[in-house]
């Protein structure tokens, strides 16, 4: 039986959101990922603003549902999820804790300042990415498109393991 929460505070909501994980990278919660932009509580009405990582990211629908379910389990039914495109999401918003969790999970975290951006740097040097397994910096880019929209595909030249790199997206 779910107790009705009379007046949730914004702090409560942030705590609940911290328990919602990214379905494609389950070690990260959505606060680590930096996609929750705002939380506002007005009486019983709760407003949550989220920003998509990539336009077509299929995880966004799941995340919105997970947020709804998590808050519903605390008796919050008057939830309004607002999908905000601007300012556009950037990996700069990913928390330090999130970056450490990613590396421990086997995904190299974004290297700041290396976004493809508007440089159109054709055949430019690959971003030096540390292998999350053996920690060697001796790695190379296999493809800038990986298993999900947010990742590139790398291989370590030391331990030879292929690994995912969470692209810097700024």
């Amino acid at each position: 039986m779910v107790e009705h929460v009379a007046a949730p505070t914004e702090e409560h909501i942030w705590q609940m959101l911290e328990e919602v994980s990214d379905p494609e990278v389950p070690v990260l919660n959505i606060l680590d990922l930096g996609i929750v932009r705002a939380v506002r509580v007005e009486g019983e009405e709760v407003y949550v603003t989220i920003t998509p990582t990539y336009s077509g990211c299929p995880a966004m629908n799941t995340i919105a549902t997970e947020i709804r379910l998590r808050l519903l389990s605390e008796g919050i039914t008057k939830l309004h999820i607002h999908n905000q495109l601007s300012p556009a999401w950037t990996t700069d918003w990913m928390s330090q804790a999130g970056r450490q969790k990613l590396e421990a999970y086997g995904i190299a975290p974004p290297v700041d300042g290396t976004a493809t951006g508007h440089m159109l740097n054709l055949f430019g040097a690959d971003t030096a990415v540390r292998c999350p397994l053996c920690k060697s910096e001796h790695t190379h880019l296999v493809s800038q498109f990986g298993s999900t929209a947010c990742k590139a595909h790398y291989q370590c030249d030391e331990c030879l393991e292929p690994f995912d790199y969470f692209k810097c997206h700024a």
Binding site: G56, P58, H82, L120
Partner: protein, 267 residues
Amino acid sequence: MTDSPMPAQATTAPTPEVQANLFPFVLQLADTSLILAHRLSEWCGHGPILEQDLAMANIALDLLGEARSYYQYAAELEGKGRTEDDLAYLRSAVEYRNPLLVEQPNGDFAGTIVRQFIYDCFHYHLLLQLKSGPDAHLAAIAEKSVKEAAYHIKWSSEWVIRLGDGTEESRRRVEKAINTLWRYAGELTTPSAAEKALQAAGLVPDYAAIQAQVDAHVARVFEEATLPVPQGVFMQKGGKDGRHSEHLGYLLAELQYLQRTYPGLQW
């Protein structure tokens, strides 16, 4: 998933003329992204190697996401209760506003690369302009999508260079693709009636300026690819006015099959 759609935040009240033309323009952007996304998705599981199969699926997904943003905005602009799904699944080929380029069949890998390269050159530079344009809603979509389009143009440009300056076989194929597809490049920067009206109102950027940026990028890439830039090609057009090649009907038959056969069906 848009529980509460982003409100349209036009900085000044749009004139009736702008209002009348904004819907077809946004729809054109939506159709263009959707049709190209669909074409790329046809490669899924058939790519020459796994990494490039993934690349095409990734780009398709980006474009599909961008299309959804435009369709949602278009539905709101129209204000007749149609949803993004109605606009994508329940319009016939003559109602589609995409330029002819993006509906052209995939051909071989070189054909897909050349089609993508021609589109990416335009798309990337268009989004850079729309991002700082006066329509706040379009600017927000462009701000998001231009980051993704930067990956696309880098990918297709590098592949044009690899294929052009590659083996005899790759060069033969990429030249054939350029000969087949270049005739569809001009339509991208040839404004439709709606685009002309919006250009006059400052909502759509000057396409001559975009064409100059595109030409500069094409010249740079083709030089590295050791390919000659096509000259004096007669440019086909009509897609933006709903006059399509025969390919679009077949594409829509597949894309719309489920909704046409089982109206209103949901996952």
